[in-house]
């Protein structure tokens, strides 16, 4: 079971991880997009680091904290990633409204609902070389590990590993959504920056869960 302390630590770890990979994400985006994915995600991360501890000082509702992160995505990231990550967290927050603690099942459900939200707003699915190529496999892997009765660190690990495979998969396919779709076959060979960010986020979730010995 996890509470506010874990959620804040996880978002802090995610933010640091994204900031560390700012140049890397820009580099990936440069090949198939407009080269600012890292900059945009890092701007958001700096704001989360500064703003989330303040916001959560008088909010214990984990759904509300996630909702706040979603709104922060919407106002700060911009481009396509803003509404997509925003939708992920807004949708994920719904089933945790009024929760001050989250069980493993709550995390898995939140992740699944967030993924469905991204799919709906992006009118997209797996195999189009987008963040969904990391989100969907991760969601499935987390669901399976949950059903096997594994602990939260193992669930996040399964999610992170599935996301990593998803990122590798995006290298092999042609984009049919987003700006990269216009360069057609030339998008093959490049990995999707959005999917990469999802992978980084899950890796940070896993590391935080291990470090904090949650179950």
């Amino acid at each position: 079971m996890t509470g506010k302390e874990f959620m804040l630590a996880a978002f802090e770890a995610i933010s640091h991880n994204i900031i560390e990979h700012e140049e890397y994400l820009n580099h990936l985006d440069n090949a198939i997009g407009d080269g600012d994915h890292g900059t945009n995600m890092a701007r958001f991360s700096h704001i989360i680091l500064k703003d989330l501890p303040e916001f959560s000082a008088d909010h214990d509702d984990l759904g509300e904290i996630m909702h706040h992160v979603g709104m922060c995505c919407i106002t700060e990231i911009g481009g396509s990633a803003g509404p997509l990550f925003g939708k992920f967290f807004l949708q994920a927050s719904l089933s945790n409204k009024n929760n001050t603690f989250m069980e493993a099942a709550n995390w898995v459900l939140a992740f699944e609902e967030g993924t469905m939200g991204v799919s709906q707003i992006g009118q997209s699915t797996e195999g189009e070389k987008t963040m969904l190529d990391a989100l969907f496999p991760a969601s499935r892997a987390m669901q399976e590990t949950l059903e096997e009765g594994k602990s939260l660190p193992e669930i996040f690990l399964a999610g992170a590993e599935a996301a990593e495979k998803g990122v590798e998969f995006t290298k092999t396919i042609q984009a049919s959504k987003g700006r990269a779709a216009y360069i057609g076959q030339r998008s093959i060979g490049h990995q999707d920056p959005g999917a990469t960010t999802v992978m980084l986020m899950l890796q940070s979730m896993h590391k935080t869960a291990v470090d904090m010995h949650v179950e």
Binding site: T75, G78, S80
Partner: protein, 328 residues
Amino acid sequence: MKKFINKPENLEIETARGMALAKPNILRQLPGCNIMVRQNKKTDRVALVFGCGSGHEPAPNGYVGYGMLDAGIPGKLFSSPTPDMLLKGIKEVQTEAGVLCIIVNYTGDVLNFRMAMEMAQMENIAVESVIIADDVATQKTKSVGRRGLAGVALVMKIAGAEAEMGSDLYRVKEVAEWAASGLRTIGVACRPCIIPSDGEPSFELGETEMEIGMGLHGEPGVLRCDMMSAKDTVHQMLELILLDCNYENSEVVVLINGLGGTPPMELYVINQCIHDYLAEHGIKIYDTMIGNFMTSLEMGGFSISLMRLDPHLKALYDAAAVTSVIRR
């Protein structure tokens, strides 16, 4: 980099303020942001909202006013306005008749608008959208569809006039989509613009080269070649439009849009080439708009849009409008 600016980070807000100060009878800038609404708020008719990145001036705010937009919502330089800003604009101008969002087909713009519309619907605002995808240099068959270009200015004129007549939301959307179905645009660029924040050119193009079909932000086009005469360039471009859409025996309005770094003189030279070519192909020109309608800072180049007219669209095209850019 030589630019008459103050701080690059204040560019967007100073641009909006400058535009609002020029036309105090038409425009009102919302405090603290670059959203522009009409001085006289509409009460009972469908409201029109358009947003796009900054750097495309006079779009979007130059089209705010009677007969066209109710709110213009610019984003940061070359990036879509965010959903919170779009929602703010939508809420400011909403009426009981609803709100029609006009969107140029770029992934970022579409996603941000979709999110904003979802948020507006949660607040019980009736909101619909029309997506403009007029660029013949991109494929219709792609799941992302074609890019949107300067032709959107013509759709704003048509939809705005239909809304002033008191038509309902679905009728205004239908007329906008009908106008867009007969709208095609093709662009050409010969010089990149310089991005003020880093002083770098927005794309690379050889000293003697041009590229037909390039997008508003330097996205790849269909043909990169050595500079051609105005006549040959126009022929290449119109050929692509006419291959895509049959305008024979139609009456059209022509919109020649400078990208910010092409002088009016060249646009007039281009216009007479267009008129000759269309006359040879049996296409009748009802009216021609020439100027900077949707720019990319100081990019060298222009776009040509053709929009088919029928008697109803013609009446809407001629209907009264009082905006910074278009007055009838």
